[in-house]
């Protein structure tokens, strides 16, 4: 099965990198959507269904924390797993974001295998 993923990050080069890493990792990707902030991500989600969301935290307009809150508050969108990708590896931040509804967390820097493993874990993809 191939999956549809949304990448939310205000850095175009980071969105490009994450997309490339997902492809390099061998993860079964059918569609990859991009948003430059949480508001764009929510607008996109109203038009397209995705299987997983990869989100940065520090974004303008609607940041990653607020995106997680709004996803959790939406009866339809709350079922889509969101994985945070962040430079912050402190316990405080990770716990806070998981409490807001994040289903996974990937700390930068990461290798492709780490991102793939976190995607597959949150999606319940059987191990090879």
């Amino acid at each position: 099965m191939a999956y549809r993923v949304l990448i939310a990050d205000d850095s175009p080069v980071m969105r490009s990198f994450v997309r490339r890493v997902i492809e390099l990792s061998g993860f079964e990707l059918s569609e990859c959507f991009e948003a430059s902030n949480g508001e764009e991500a929510l607008e996109m989600l109203r038009a397209e269904w995705v299987d997983a969301i990869l989100t940065d935290i520090n974004m303008p307009v609607v940041d990653g924390e607020e995106l997680l809150r709004r996803l959790a508050a939406d009866d339809v969108l709350k079922s889509i797993p969101a994985i945070v990708i962040s430079t912050d590896a402190t316990r405080n931040r990770i716990d806070r974001l998981m409490a807001l509804g994040a289903r996974g967390y990937v700390t930068k820097p990461f290798v492709p295998e780490t991102l793939r493993a976190e995607l597959e874990r949150t999606l319940g993809v059987p191990c090879d």
Binding site: S11, P12, V13, M14, S16, F17, R20, N58, S86, T87, D88, A89, T90, R91, N92, R93, T107, K108, P109, F110, V111
Partner: protein, 157 residues
């Protein structure tokens, strides 16, 4: 001379970020003198303590890193792409360093910005690190606004 814990954290962070995200190996610059880069990015951070992080790269280093990050031909990269990648590199290294030395605290990074021209003299860096990347020099330095207690939590990384 024993390297300070912050210098160690800085060196480890640069190595880890470049190897994992940029797929490049660093080389020891040896006894090369400190050089001002062609592209520099600065990150201001709040934390305990707050401070600033700066990353300077010579153009050759920036092009090499950006090409590897984006999977593009280094000669095809635009200035905008180089700047964005240097900013992202600064963001990641800064975050990695702070996670190592402030593992139980909360910190917040401002958006990285390209600093125009040569940086005016500032207070001495708390820690600095220099390496060769793709034939060009990379220099990272961090300035904390007050002394960080030694005894970094090794389990944070």
């Amino acid at each position: 001379m024993t390297e300070s814990p912050i210098t160690t954290a800085l060196a480890e962070s640069v190595h880890e970020v470049l190897e994992k995200m940029f797929f490049v190996d660093l080389m020891d610059p040896g006894a090369a003198e400190e050089r001002t880069g062609d592209i520099a990015a600065e990150v201001i951070f709040d934390g305990d303590p707050p401070g600033t992080f700066r990353l300077d790269l010579e153009r050759a280093a920036a092009k090499s890193a950006a090409a590897d990050f984006l999977g593009e031909d280094p000669e095809e990269l635009t200035t905008e792409q180089l700047n964005e990648v240097v900013c992202e590199l600064a963001n990641m290294v800064c975050g990695s360093v702070l996670s190592r030395i402030e593992s139980s605290a909360t910190f917040r990074l401002a958006k990285p910005r390209i600093t125009p021209g040569e940086c005016p003299p500032q207070a001495p860096a708390t820690a600095s690190f220099q390496a060769l990347v793709g034939g060009g020099m990379l220099r990272a330095e961090i300035r904390m606004e007050r002394t960080v207690c030694p005894g970094i939590d090794e389990s944070a990384s």
